[in-house]
């Protein structure tokens, strides 16, 4: 590593080629093909954080028991005019038996005293020994629940991990952040607050296409879980998985039933399973009914948000709603370590909405 850094310093014309390490990022790539794909994805994105990145490949089928390692230093300009940001990338291939004991290879490679993020693409094998060992070396687990094969089970496992004080970052939750912000903004200001408590229905529109129902399930559960956890909703019916037509989940608040419905619309394959619209209808006691909606515009980079109070304020505005790449989302999540208590309570309610028991430690 020291030699690699000397080379970088010698090769970079800019005096300030900067080695910054603010975290360790361990990525469980599984196969060599996936590792290559991830490397390409990460390299195509300007890095926001200096990190030591360790990519893990498990090659159980090769005979013997050995560890192959390759390392490099990559530099990219974070912003025009600022010195390049450099980070180290180490690829470890565990051959044969070692493939199930990769944690022991990772530990000595971590930069001491820095937070360690474990990124596990896809649905992790919760409960599996390798996963538990890897989790043991990480401060923070990074997953994308929209890629879970079984969203209900996956979210219930995450809820358990959160209860066991494991820090969890979900790219899917990050993907929903701008939506959550625009939705929350409807109810900012004392005059609008009663409309949040008076919600009668939540309608979600997703792009149709490959795997759209599976991806949309996790998103529906998280969004309904979020609003439900803030407003004290309890499930009346549950939602295991969405079929690609309309589905309904009913929740209760006090003596009122609230319908959560979904719908799929064709918006091109790129949008398959992604949220393209949200509509909320509210009728607080003693106030006029109101409809709040956010809908992606055709350019898919903006959304139109509308507030429609019967006989009152009618507001419409366009807000940027960029579709973030996985690498962009990853960058954002790497800025958030520790416990996101909001996500922790949301994932608990989401797994209840999915009909999964949540284990509560005694």
């Amino acid at each position: 590593m020291v030699d690699l850094w000397k080379e970088v310093t010698a090769e970079t014309a800019l005096p300030g080629a900067v080695r910054t390490s603010i975290l360790n990022l361990v990525i469980y790539a599984g196969s060599a093909e996936r590792a290559e794909r991830l490397k390409k994805e990460l390299a195509g994105q300007p890095r926001r954080h200096g990190s030591r990145t360790i990519l893990l490949i498990a090659d159980r089928d090769r005979p013997g028991s050995s560890v192959d390692a390759a390392s490099s230093v990559r530099c990219s300009a974070s912003q025009p005019d600022s010195p390049p940001l450099c980070y180290e990338e180490i690829t470890i291939t565990g051959v044969g038996k070692v493939a199930d004991h990769l944690a022991s290879v990772v530990v000595p490679l971590l930069v001491a005293e820095l937070p360690t993020f474990l990124w596990w693409p896809g649905q992790p094998p919760f409960g599996h020994r390798l996963f538990n060992q890897m989790l043991g070396v990480a401060d923070q687990l990074l997953i994308d629940s929209s890629h879970f094969d079984s969203p209900g089970d996956g979210l219930a496992h995450l809820a358990r991990l959160c209860r066991a004080r494991q820090g969890v970052n979900d790219l899917n939750w990050g993907r929903l952040a701008p939506w959550r912000e625009v939705i929350a903004q409807f109810f900012d200001g004392a005059a609008w607050q009663p409309y949040a408590y008076g919600l009668r229905s939540l309608h979600l529109i997703f792009g149709s296409g490959t795997n759209s129902a599976r991806r949309a399930t996790a998103t529906t559960l998280l969004l309904a879980g979020w609003i439900g956890s803030r407003l004290g909703w309890t499930p009346e019916t549950t939602l295991d998985s969405l079929v690609s037509g309309a589905s309904t989940l009913t929740v209760e608040r006090g003596d009122r039933a609230i319908d959560v419905t979904t719908e799929f619309q064709d918006a091109g394959e790129k949008m398959a399973g992604l949220l393209i619209g949200v509509e909320l209808v509210s009728q607080p006691k003693g106030l006029a009914p109101a409809r709040f909606a956010v809908k992606r515009l055709e350019d898919m980079e903006h959304a139109c948000s509308t507030m429609n109070v019967h006989d009152g304020v009618q507001l419409q505005r366009v807000v940027p709603l960029h579709i973030e790449t996985d690498a962009e989302l990853l960058s954002q999540e790497l800025e958030q370590s520790g416990h996101d208590t909001l996500y922790e309570s949301v994932v608990g309610v989401a797994s209840q909405l999915a009909g999964r028991e949540v284990w509560v430690p005694s």
């Binding site: 300030g16 701008p178 959550r180 912000e181 939705i183 900012d188 200001g189 507001l315 505005r317």
Partner: protein, 514 residues
């Protein structure tokens, strides 16, 4: 007071900084500040989803324009100055629906009554609930008039009585000296409460300036040595390579002491010198800042002549270009005695700082643009290395760079590899741009959002302004009855006049080479 919005969907969100819907009325909406800073910053906030639904802006100015004329002016300004330029047409169009213009004469009561009607109507249409911000982007001479007229027209309401809230934003200069600042404060306070007034010093909106507090009070390492026992001196430099940029008329009435020292530089000194506040709330932070300013020793009479020096640039070369001297600039008298450079030594008479001087210097047409605070620590006892070249034993310096290349560097000495004990200075450098690559918001974005939220931590309180003038006014008084130096006394593109060097060298120190 920070308004907390009881929105259940905000509970638990990490971004809690969300304003309630409101209307911002910009008085002087055709001026430079509105074009270069205010409108581009508001648009940037819109792009970042930080503006509330229904947020509206009313331009209130003397030019004859309609809504559409003003919208199209503003669009051009945003296109030119926004960090998100060029504008995204769909975002602009919906943002511009909330922009309105009202032609007005600031002295005519009727105009304010019409404004009130217009705002009441907008409240109903746009759900802004009577919440208003009046932003005075006008010359300071009309601040008292506008405040008085707003009061008379019933446009200043108190939330305590069930109305929406009213806030007033004013720009520096807050007076020309202590007396005029006190007068302005009295005039504003006859209409507004202090907690409704937001005095902008845009330096406080800079990320790096806010980081001074984080650096000092969130790291355990530095605070124990942040005092007279370990620090030899503090140097605050604010150098500009530009001249006065066609603002001769203004600059002739101000000068470097009023323009930079009374506001920005004393803010930097305060943040460096203050004690830890008991909380990060507006009054706790500002209480400590005021205490630090109160402890700054006032310079009078002979001490002014000894510890404050001034300069004015003549022609010279900056960045490979020949530039005129100050007296040849537009709007400047050919025999002007206005200072474009000032350097001073201040002492802080409290237990933390007694005996540790703070040297401040600021100037126009310096070799480069740079603002920094440099903390020079006391030299280590040298007994061990006494045979070495004494020049190689430089003290540790911690430099907080405010702009450009925002960051922090620590100078330490290290052993040169080899047989002997050769020692050389090395730098540990932290650059914002390298550790965090997210775009830094502009100072005005942060400050405008703070006004909407009602957080006045980064705004200057009445007593802070007056304390700063108490430090600066005796210097102005002394200068007013001593003959002006033989100006110009430094060439553009240099680090100022010789007297600036002498000020520090006579204490056996030198300015940092920056």
């Amino acid at each position: 007071m920070v308004t907390t919005v009881q929105n259940p969907l905000r509970e638990g969100m990490t971004v809690q900084r969300t304003p309630e819907p409101s209307i911002m009325v910009i008085m002087g909406a055709t001026g430079d500040l509105t074009h270069r800073k205010l409108m581009p910053s508001l648009y940037n906030l819109a792009v970042e989803h930080l503006l509330p639904n229904g947020f509206s802006v009313v331009g209130f100015s003397r030019q004859d324009k309609d809504h559409e004329d003003w919208r199209s002016d503003m669009r051009q300004a945003v296109d030119k100055y926004s960090r998100y330029a060029p504008v995204q047409p769909s975002v602009w169009d919906s943002f511009a629906q909330g922009l309105f213009f009202k032609q007005a004469d600031f002295a005519d009561e009727n105009c304010y009554l019409q404004l009130k009607e217009m705002l009441d109507k907008l409240d109903k249409e746009r759900g802004t609930n009577g919440n208003r911000i009046f932003y005075l982007a006008t010359p300071p001479t009309v601040f008292p008039l506008i405040a008085e007229m707003l009061g008379k027209a019933g446009l200043v309401t108190d939330q305590a009585f069930g109305h929406g809230w009213t806030r007033l934003v004013i720009e520096k200069p807050f007076g020309r000296d202590l007396e005029s600042a006190q007068k302005l404060n009295r005039e504003l306070l006859s209409v507004f409460h202090e907690d409704q007034i937001y005095r902008i010093d845009h330096y406080l909106g800079k990320e790096t300036v806010q980081n001074i507090l984080v650096f000092r009070f969130a790291n355990g390492l530095f605070e124990p040595i942040w005092n007279r026992n370990y620090i030899d001196n503090v140097q605050i430099t604010a150098a500009e390579d530009i001249g006065i940029d066609r603002r001769g008329g203004y600059y002739e009435t101000a000068g470097a002491l009023r323009d930079m020292v009374q506001s920005h530089m004393l803010q930097l000194l305060t943040l460096t010198a203050m004690e830890a506040p008991v909380a990060l709330d507006p009054n706790a932070v500002r209480d400590e800042k005021v205490k630090a300013l109160r402890a700054v020793r006032r310079l009078r009479g002979q001490h002014v002549l000894q510890d404050v020096v001034r300069g004015q640039y003549g022609p010279g070369w900056v960045g490979g270009q020949h530039v005129e001297g100050y007296r040849a600039e537009e709007g400047v008298a050919p025999d002007s005695a206005t200072e474009t450079y000032v350097a001073l030594k201040l002492e802080i008479d409290n237990w933390r700082w007694a005996g540790t001087p703070f040297y401040l210097r600021t100037g126009k047409r310096m070799p480069k643009r740079l603002t920094e605070i440099a903390i020079t620590f006391k030299q280590a006892p040298l007994a061990l290395f006494k045979d070495l070249d004494p020049d190689s034993m430089t003290p540790n310096v911690l430099a907080m760079r405010i702009q450009p290349n925002e960051g922090i560097s620590l100078k330490i000495v290290a052993k040169v590899p080899g047989q002997g004990y050769d020692i050389q200075p090395v730098y540990m450098d932290f650059l914002y741009g390298s550790s965090f690559a997210r775009q830094v918001p502009e100072a005005y974005e942060r400050l405008l959002l703070d006004v909407m939220i009602g957080d006045s931590t980064l705004f200057t309180r009445r007593d802070e302004v007056e304390q700063a003038w108490e430090i600066v006014t005796p210097i102005l008084d002394e200068w007013s009855h001593t003959p002006a130096p033989d100006f110009p006394n430094y060439a553009a593109g240099t680090w100022g006049p010789d007297c600036g060097q002498e000020l520090i060298e006579r204490d056996g120190r030198t300015w940092r080479v920056v």
